[in-house]
């Protein structure tokens, strides 16, 4: 008997400044769709309708409108930057559709029409900055793309370092896709900050990391770099210059879990032995699986029913157990810290001992928290060091 087909939109840019991540999201989402469609556990099939906004912000609204009107999609998986999510938000709210957003983001949003599958700010920026404050320096030089992700990440960073009697030494911003990074690298070499926090996105980040590595190596400087977004496919794009970046993420290919080993094996079988999954790709994969499980449990694709069925339902994903917090539609997941290697991988040196509840408004943030009292801190004595 033929299974009924449920249309699901997939929106990710295959060209433009963050095309590399868009392609990763698409590959991972389609892999998950294929798994669902081949599985006997689901009594429906997902009909994936892929749309490419080409990295043009206004196009996101257009392609979602098309998906809703013409493809009949009640569920849309995708968007990468916050700017693209904000474009889609009005249309999914007005038409009561559900956007499954895979990327980590800066928080301070909580729409009933979005499931936030990626990391919240308490999952990524907090553990990273707390680790830096206690182990590297209280003075941080920030460089990022000129949009909301950087603005808010820098604000939280400033608040944390100021509470620790430290300082943000500089905030240097580049437009999305900008490649003229030399003046910032020159300033870094001249000022020799103890640590650089990179929130650049896509090609700007790759150009910056290469120039930063060349200039600091030439000057004999060893300045650690921080990131909340760098992932394995990007390490390959950047090359050996990307080694040594301290990165905060919920997913790394090197996670030692049977679910992840099996996922990586399937990934390499599909996309080639040298191909690597990424945090955003893995998150899109998780989004498809969470959606499919919720549809199966609800017995319908109706968004209200699916949202209720998704809340609190645990899925043992490649990154470990995840579930949607029904209070805020964000994902409960496990924060991790790792350092990138010359081989294009990450060595994980810390992870929380249990999945952490999302706090999109940072309402529980205690900027003066002592590490031993703060369960989200990588310096808490009760937490597990993974290495």
């Amino acid at each position: 008997m033929t299974k009924p087909s449920i249309p699901v939109g997939i929106v990710c840019s295959q060209s433009g400044p963050y095309q590399a991540m868009g392609r990763e999201i698409l590959k991972a989402a389609l892999m998950a769709v294929s798994e669902i469609n081949d599985s006997a556990d689901f009594d429906f099939r997902i009909a994936a309708h892929v749309r490419d906004p080409h990295g043009v912000i206004a196009e996101y609204h257009t392609v979602c409108d098309d998906l809703i009107r013409n493809a009949g999609a009640a569920h849309i998986i995708g968007c990468y930057t916050s700017a693209s999510r904000k474009q889609v938000l009005p249309i999914v709210e007005r038409t009561d559709r559900l956007l499954w957003y895979p990327a980590r983001y800066e928080g301070f949003e909580c729409s009933d029409n979005v499931i936030y599958v990626g990391a919240s700010p308490n999952h990524n920026v907090l553990p990273l900055v707390r680790y830096v404050l206690d182990n590297i320096s209280r003075h941080i030089f920030c460089v990022g793309s000129n949009y909301v992700w950087t603005w808010e990440t820098n604000r939280v960073t400033r608040e944390l370092v100021t509470a620790a009697q430290g300082s943000v030494l500089a905030e240097r911003l580049l437009e999305l896709g900008e490649s003229a990074v030399e003046h910032i690298v020159d300033e870094i070499v001249r000022r020799k900050p103890p640590v650089v926090f990179n929130t650049l996105v896509g090609s700007s980040s790759y150009d910056f990391i290469r120039a930063f590595h060349a200039a600091t190596t030439s000057a004999g400087l060893a300045i650690p770099m921080l990131s909340c977004s760098l992932c394995e496919p990007e390490l390959k794009i950047v090359g050996p210059a990307s080694a040594g970046c301290i990165t905060s993420s919920a997913y790394f290919e090197s996670i030692h879990l049977p679910e992840n080993r099996a996922f990586v094996d399937r990934w390499k079988a599909s996309h080639g032995e040298t191909s690597c999954p990424s945090v955003d790709g893995q998150s899109a994969y998780v989004a498809v699986h969470l959606l499919a499980r919720a549809i199966q449990r609800a017995g319908t694709a109706d968004i209200g029913e699916v949202r209720r069925a998704a809340a609190g339902y645990r899925y043992d994903s490649p990154q470990g157990p995840v579930w949607i917090d029904g209070d805020n539609n964000h994902c409960v997941l496990t924060p991790r810290l790792a350092v990138s290697t010359a081989q294009g991988q990450f060595d994980i040196f810390w992870e929380a001992d249990a999945p952490v509840k999302p706090d999109p408004y940072l309402s529980q943030l205690d900027v003066a928290a002592h590490p031993s009292r703060d369960r989200s801190s990588p310096n808490a004595t009760h937490l597990r060091i993974v290495k």
Binding site: C110, Y361, S363, L365, D366
Partner: protein, 195 residues
């Protein structure tokens, strides 16, 4: 000692007067996410004193006497607007709102309205304190003028020099110019040490 983020609203107390159940449930959910407690003690004068912020639906306008008393001297007010017609907005002015939200409510906008209301309220309080200080200084200006005239006469100096003498005396005795002027006006001359 714990210190919440400067943009955290955790632990704030809100008094809510919303008629529509759907709007009310959206506010409750969003407040829970933000760590804001809804004051359950009813809408009376005491509850107004306990609340940091009051969300009030424009459907309650014009306010009844109890509500008017509750709002007098209470925390920041956020008005919930059902219509933007000038006639309604005119009524909303009665609330002296620090911020507003447009109905039907959605979760987006509530956090921003709260942050703006608290910020507006803080700035208004600062301005009020500044006005009190300026009014005091304005009242004491007559006394300063009297003291300057007295010193001009007693020391046979021009106005700038008389004022400089008073200021120097005030600094030496660690008093304000207004306090020193009041003493000069009362005693009829400058303190001996500075004469």
């Amino acid at each position: 000692m714990s210190k919440p983020s400067s943009f955290s609203l955790r632990g704030r107390k809100a008094l809510v007067a919303i008629k529509d159940e759907r709007d009310l449930s959206i506010v409750r959910r969003q407040f829970e996410r933000l760590g804001i407690d809804i004051w359950n003690g009813g809408f009376d004068h005491a509850s107004g004193r306990h609340a940091d912020v009051i969300l009030i639906d424009d459907e309650f306008l014009p306010l009844n006497p109890t509500m008017r008393r509750t709002l007098s001297g209470a925390g920041s007010v956020i008005a919930l607007l059902g219509t933007e017609t000038p006639s309604r907005l005119k009524l909303v002015f009665e609330l002296d709102p620090a911020s507003f939200l447009v109905k039907p409510l959605r979760s987006a906008g509530i956090y921003a309205a709260l942050v703006m209301a608290f910020e507006r309220s803080e700035r208004t309080n600062e301005l009020k304190q500044q006005i009190v200080k300026l009014e005091e200084r304005l009242r004491s200006r007559r006394i300063v003028l009297a003291a300057v005239l007295q010193v001009m006469h007693s020391h046979a100096v021009a106005e700038p020099a008389a004022f400089a003498l008073i200021r120097r005396a005030a600094m030496e005795q660690r008093k304000t110019i207004e306090q020193m002027s009041a003493e000069i006006a009362a005693k009829g001359n400058l303190p001996r040490a500075t004469g």
